[in-house]
């Protein structure tokens, strides 16, 4: 790429300087969060907000768990996210299979119905869904937090696209070998689309874990707040406890950081495949 005709060493050094400067720009906000999480809030302000930690309180993370109920919020988030990811995978795979491999009356209509949900994100239907939950007494419940997300057009499209990549002759071969639909789905179609399914799981996890608007309004009790919603209030009632909130934000981001590090390939593929729902 670097096709500079001047001194290559100088050009390389220049790129490193630029890349480092950009890294600083991206990482500075994160640094500030860590810094503020570790510093005693009042002392930090008293010292004129320097760029280094003041009176580091390393036990702030433990405090967040013990006093701010962070463990409960994380647990609820984990539960809600797991349910959403697993069920979304199941409903998407089944629906994608029907659209990719089966012929049936009203196929078009049903496909349009799936496409149509792209116009109905939870932000649009928020008010009405909250009222539904109120009527069903599902506010502050696991089903209330998960049910609206048990199926996703994005997943259906993505996995259907993967299934359509299974060669026709392979399907013929499976037919002759005596495969039934379910066996073909689980033994051939799914294993062959593993990369796409992996990407979908990662993206689905990302979306479910990061949700804010729905869990914010599908709950009105603090004990039912997911970790993202809890971030709003943890420690913000008192300035001297602000660092607990900052620490909680770090903890809330850790699972995704792990996801990014260990499943970078899947994440990149999923995001670029059509980040309809970033």
């Amino acid at each position: 790429m670097a096709t500079d005709r001047r001194s290559p060493a100088l050009a390389t050094a220049g790129w490193y300087v630029l890349l480092s400067a950009l890294s600083l720009l991206v990482l500075f906000p994160v640094y500030m969060l860590v810094l503020r999480a570790l510093s005693n809030p009042l002392e930090y302000i008293a010292q004129g907000q320097p760029l280094y930690p003041v009176q580091p309180e390393w036990d702030v993370f433990a405090t967040a768990f013990s006093e701010a109920d962070l463990g409960r919020a994380l647990g609820l988030s984990a539960l809600v996210t797991s349910i959403i990811v697993v069920v979304q995978l199941l409903t998407s795979v089944l629906a994608a299979y029907a659209f990719a491999f089966l012929e049936f009356p009203l196929k078009r209509v049903m496909f349009v119905m799936v496409v149509g949900t792209l116009l109905l994100p939870i932000e649009v239907t928020l008010i009405a869904n909250v009222e539904t939950m109120r009527t069903l007494s599902w506010l502050n419940s696991v089903q209330g937090l998960t049910f609206p997300f048990l199926a996703t057009a994005f997943g259906i499209f993505l996995i259907r696209q993967g299934f359509l990549g299974v060669p026709g002759e392979l399907r013929d071969a499976a037919t002759l070998d005596g495969y039934g639909h379910l066996r073909f789905l689980f033994r051939v179609a799914m294993p062959m689309t593993r990369p796409i399914i992996g990407s979908f799981v990662v993206i689905s996890f990302l979306g479910a874990w990061n949700q804010y608007v729905w869990p914010r309004f599908a709950t009105d009790r603090q004990s039912w707040q997911t970790v993202q919603v809890a971030l709003r209030s943890i420690g913000s009632d008192r300035v001297d406890r602000l660092n607990i909130g900052f620490a909680a934000a770090i903890v809330a981001a850790l699972p995704l950081l792990a996801l990014l590090i260990f499943f970078q390939r899947q994440m990149v593929r999923g995001l670029t495949a059509g980040a309809v729902k970033g």
């Binding site: 670097a2 012929e103 119905m113 109905l120 932000e123 048990l150 874990w209 995704l256 970033g278």
Partner: protein
């Protein structure tokens, strides 16, 4: 999918290429066809029920709420007042204001987000030792949620305790700068996504094209604008649309950073719909939701037309 084979194409090839050929013969006998159809409906049921209950029924309810007046007392049923009430919602000050604020938010986040994403991607798209480290750093903000990003920016722009509390053009206390400060948190949070998508697009540009342009005597800048930008334009378009949708759906950053203030200057359309302080009537919020629905539809329409026009570039 159901098109009959054309005259010039061999029926054989078409059938072999047909993406929808089921297990078993394509044109099955009655019983097999029935069995396949039943299976398809069974497979689609969970998804379609979810969509019906939590997407389509709510849409109907939005129209219902928007055309009914809620009773003063809980024990009386709502009364139908007609579409004039929906019209009133859509011509209300709340809607106009929310729309303006959402548009402002878009204006701040979309172009800046795109440009920064391209800058990061171009900088990190080269063969250098350790480039993976930089690429990981630039992608890192995909690991942050809107809520986490908002807490991060809380440490920067909060009027009492933020690092930049004295920087006037980032002040959350000033109605003219508050939205910009909130927008920055979104720009930062979206950096990872834009970087990843643009980098992937850059990596898909064939090396020969750059080499050919080099041989044609184009300098690096002209090469970038003449060769690279046109080739990654589908990705940029895609990103622009994603960022517009993100802007329409911005909520957490506003609640956490400003609570809609100062003086309602950061109340976007969705913020007014969500209405955390519960000061608006259900029918008004339903009306605003329908407005948001229409906007979402417009974006989808634009996306569809643009993508179908540029489809030859895509992928």
């Amino acid at each position: 999918m159901t098109d009959l084979p054309g005259a010039e194409a061999g029926a054989e090839d078409l059938v072999r290429a047909a993406p929808t050929a089921p297990l078993g013969p394509r044109s099955g006998d009655g019983r097999r066809r029935l069995r396949d159809a039943l299976m398809a409906y069974l497979f689609l049921l969970p998804a379609l029920v979810t969509f019906a209950v939590f997407a389509y029924y709510p849409l109907y309810r939005l129209f219902w709420y928007a055309t009914h007046r809620q009773p003063r007392f809980r024990n009386r049923p709502p009364t139908y007042v007609g579409f004039s009430q929906l019209w009133d919602s859509l011509t209300s000050r709340d809607f106009a204001q929310g729309l303006l604020h959402s548009a402002t938010f878009m204006l701040y986040t979309v172009p800046l987000g795109l440009v920064l994403g391209v800058v990061l991607a171009v900088a990190a798209h080269r063969r250098l030792r350790g480039i993976k480290v930089f690429q990981t750093i630039f992608s890192s903000t995909v690991a942050t949620s809107v809520a986490v990003a908002s807490v991060v920016f809380f440490t920067l722009v909060n009027p009492e305790v933020g690092y930049f509390r004295n920087v006037t053009w980032l002040s959350l206390n000033d109605p003219t700068s508050a939205m910009f400060a909130v927008s920055l948190s979104s720009v930062w949070q979206n950096l990872g996504l834009t970087f990843i998508v643009v980098l992937a697009a850059l990596q898909a540009v064939p090396e020969e094209l750059n080499e050919a342009a080099l041989l044609d005597g184009f300098g690096p800048v002209r090469r970038f604008f003449r060769v690279t930008v046109p080739l990654i334009s589908p990705a940029l378009l895609f990103l622009a649309i994603v960022l517009v949708i993100h802007a329409l759906q911005a909520y957490a950053q506003i609640e956490i950073l400003t609570g809609g203030g100062p003086a309602g200057s950061t109340e976007t359309l969705l913020y007014k719909i969500a209405d955390p302080k519960n000061i608006r009537s259900l029918d008004l919020k339903a009306g605003l939701s329908i407005g948001l629905f229409v906007l979402t539809g417009l974006v989808a329409f634009v996306q569809y037309t643009l993508l179908s026009r540029r489809v030859h570039y895509g992928d």
